[in-house]
C-alpha cells in the first residue's frame, strides 16, 4: 500500500504509549521490511522533531533520550517530498479553512494522487465531509 502520512501518525510510531489503532496497524505494515511505501512532505520532519523535543523535555526526559528518539525517526524509510507544492493549491486549501500545516499534507497527497493517513480527528472530519479531497487510509474490517 502507498500513502501519505501526517505528523500525528509518525508521532504515534515514535512514541507509541498512547498510539491510535490506525497508527499501530500501519506501524506493523511499515516497520522493518514491511510492504508499505510511505510518503511525506518535508513539513513532517519539522513537525515531528519539534513536537518530540518540546514534549519529551517538558516531561523531564534527558536530552540524550530525545536525541535517540530523533535518530530513530531519521532512520524511518520515508519517501520525502522532492518538488515544491503549488502555491495556488495551498492558498485554495487555506481559503477553504484548513490550517497551513493541514493544507500542506492534503496538497501533497493530492499531488501524488495518494490517500492520506491521519489520526487527527479534526482533519479527518474535514476530509470525510469533502468530496474533492484525498481519500483517507482506514483500518480494514
Amino acid at each position: 500500500m502507498r500513502y501519505v502520512v501526517d505528523a500525528s501518525i509518525v508521532y504515534d510510531w515514535l512514541i507509541p504509549e498512547n498510539a491510535a489503532a490506525l497508527s499501530r496497524a500501519l506501524w506493523e505494515r511499515f516497520r522493518g521490511a514491511g510492504p508499505d511505501r510511505v510518503h511525506a512532505p518535508l513539513l513532517l520532519q519539522s513537525e515531528v522533531v519539534n513536537t518530540v523535543v518540546r514534549d519529551e523535555l517538558k516531561r523531564g526526559r534527558p536530552a540524550a533520550v530525545v536525541r535517540s528518539l530523533i535518530r530513530t525517526f531519521a532512520g524511518y524509510r520515508i519517501h520525502w517530498q522532492a518538488d515544491p507544492l503549488p502555491a495556488t493549491r495551498l492558498a485554495e486549501l487555506r481559503l477553504a479553512g484548513l490550517t497551513g500545516q493541514d493544507a500542506t499534507y492534503v496538497a501533497f497527497a493530492q499531488a501524488l494522487r495518494l490517500p492520506l493517513a491521519t489520526v487527527d480527528e479534526r482533519l479527518a472530519r474535514v476530509l470525510r465531509a469533502w468530496r474533492g479531497g484525498p481519500a483517507l487510509v482506514a483500518l480494514r474490517d
Binding site: 505528523a7 500525528s8 501518525i9 508521532y11 504515534d12 512514541i15 498512547n18 498510539a19 491510535a20 497508527s23 513537525e47 515531528v48 519539534n50 513536537t51 518540546r54 514534549d55 516531561r59 490550517t99 500545516q101 491521519t118 489520526v119 487527527d120 480527528e121 479534526r122
Partner: protein, 53 residues
C-alpha cells in the same frame, strides 16, 4: 455523661473521617487530571506544538 462523651467522640471521628475523605478525593482528583493530561494523543501533541512553536 458517658453517653455524651461517646457521642462527642463519634462526632469528631466522623468529622475527621469526612475531612480525610475530602483530602483524599482532592488528591485523587489531582492524580486523575495529571493522568489525563499525560495521556494526550499524538495528534493533540502535534497540534499543541504548532500553537506554541
Amino acid at each position: 455523661m458517658r453517653t455524651t462523651l461517646s457521642a462527642e467522640a463519634k462526632k469528631i471521628r466522623t468529622r475527621e473521617q469526612r475531612e480525610r475523605l475530602a483530602r483524599e478525593t482532592e488528591r485523587l482528583g489531582r492524580i486523575l487530571v495529571r493522568y489525563i493530561k499525560h495521556k494526550k494523543t499524538g495528534a493533540q501533541r502535534v497540534r499543541e506544538s504548532r500553537r506554541s512553536g
